[in-house]
């Protein structure tokens, strides 16, 4: 039950994109098309769950017992960067179709604040291993959900008559604002 709550909280109520503002860059950059938005969401979810496991181990088995918690940021970001690189190589070797679908999005994920944000929130809230995995899964689901909804809206927006200065980024931000307002409706859920 506890785990389900963490999952739902990260995915819907405290959606990473719409209420913590994590991962806005890919949210604006890759949300033009439904298919690429979904691929990006899946790739990010995968990396989020892996990061949750690995950074939990590093934080709780190495850094905290040795009293090195001031090295958290440096080690987290290095682990994430190398993890993304490793995942990219692994997918390239094992599954060509998957690599072709996700390949270009993987390097972008390193600088996605959602990943480092997840690691920091986990450390801050003292989650256990299992809780961290569900937190990562929820964050990824929430990210994918926001990205896919946004891409769907933007595909329709292509046909709309938007005032010239508002085309592109501004209208995307305003749409995101309305979306965030809609997600506020979930706030009493948990």
């Amino acid at each position: 039950m506890e785990l389900l709550l963490i999952f739902l909280s990260a995915a819907i109520v405290n959606n990473f994109v719409l209420s913590y503002f994590l991962g806005i860059c890919p949210f604006i950059g890759v949300s033009n098309k439904l298919t690429s938005a979904f691929s990006m969401g899946v790739a990010t979810t995968f990396v989020l769950v892996l990061t949750a496991v690995v950074t939990w181990m590093i934080n709780n088995l190495i850094l905290l017992p040795a009293g090195l918690d001031y090295l958290q940021y440096v080690s987290f970001i290095l682990v994430i960067a190398s993890l993304v690189q490793f995942v990219e190589m692994f997918i390239k070797k094992t599954s060509q179709p998957l690599y072709r679908a996700l390949g270009i999005y993987l390097p972008l994920i390193t600088t996605n604040c959602a990943i480092l944000g997840l690691a920091l929130f986990m450390a801050l809230r003292d989650y256990s291993m299992m809780e961290s995995i569900f937190f990562g899964l929820g964050a990824g689901t929430g990210f994918t959900l926001a990205l896919v909804i946004m891409a769907g809206i933007r595909e329709e927006l292509e046909l709309a008559d938007i005032p010239k200065p508002f085309r592109g980024v501004p209208i995307t931000l305003i749409t995101a604002g309305l979306l965030a307002m809609a997600f506020m409706g979930f706030s009493g859920l948990i």
């Binding site: 503002f21 200065p165 931000l173 604002g177 965030a180």
Partner: protein, 231 residues
């Protein structure tokens, strides 16, 4: 050419012409997250400027020592080190601000502005120019945060710098402090900035057209004259 290379120009570039938020769309995550009030905005802007300045200086100093293949990783380590310093200092000196900004101080590590400037400017230019470029970018970022922060604070809580500025009869619009208001404010400001640029461009085109016309008008009678003389 010499004008575009001067340190002052590098500095001014970041403030408007290449403003990190309105022109390059970098660093939107902290922009949206911390601008609940103007104080938070200023603190975030200064922290980012500090990290940007010192990492740019260090990176432009050691740019020849870093092998090309691992440069991104090396940049990130430099940036993360300075972020750790900022975080520790903030926790000790300004515990309230550190609490309010929460995980967004460590998240400066993945702020695209810093890595972007390291890759696009500091790795190619001298130490002095990189320093001025970093200061300009930092100032542009801070200014944008101040503008967004003050709009949201005034509309959302009737206050500025924590002092009440609007009378009680004006109902504070809570939505501007909530995440949705952040998106709306930035979206509308972005549209206004685009509109301003568009108008400026239109004016320049108009000017070019009228200038061309007037030169034609001046030269036209002259050519007519020469023709008649020849005749």
């Amino acid at each position: 050419m010499s004008k575009s290379n001067s340190p002052l120009n590098d500095f001014m570039n970041g403030i408007w012409k290449q403003n990190p938020i309105f022109k390059q769309v970098l660093g939107t995550c902290p922009t949206l997250a911390v601008t609940v009030s103007i104080v938070n905005g200023v603190a975030m802007g200064l922290a980012t400027t500090f990290v940007l300045l010192f990492s740019s200086l260090i990176i432009s100093m050691i740019k020849k020592l870093i092998p090309n293949q691992v440069r991104i990783a090396a940049y990130i380590v430099v940036i993360a080190t300075f972020v750790t310093i900022v975080d520790i200092v903030m926790k000790a000196q300004f515990p309230d601000l550190s609490m309010a900004l929460g995980p967004f101080i460590p998240l400066i590590v993945v702020n695209c502005i810093i890595l972007g400037r390291a890759e696009a400017f500091a790795s190619k230019n001298t130490v002095v120019r990189s320093g001025f470029d970093a200061l300009g970018m930092g100032a542009g970022f801070t200014l944008a945060l101040i503008v967004i922060g003050s709009i949201r604070e005034i509309l959302g809580s009737n206050k500025l710098f924590g002092f009440v500025v609007l009378p009680d009869t004006v109902e504070p619009m809570l939505i501007f402090i909530l995440p949705a208001g952040a998106f709306l404010t930035l979206g509308i400001l972005f549209g206004i900035a685009n509109n301003y640029e568009q108008k400026k461009k239109d004016k320049e085109i108009q000017k070019a057209i009228t200038a061309e016309r007037s030169t034609k008008l001046v030269t036209a009678p002259a050519s007519v004259q020469t023709e008649t003389e020849e005749a």
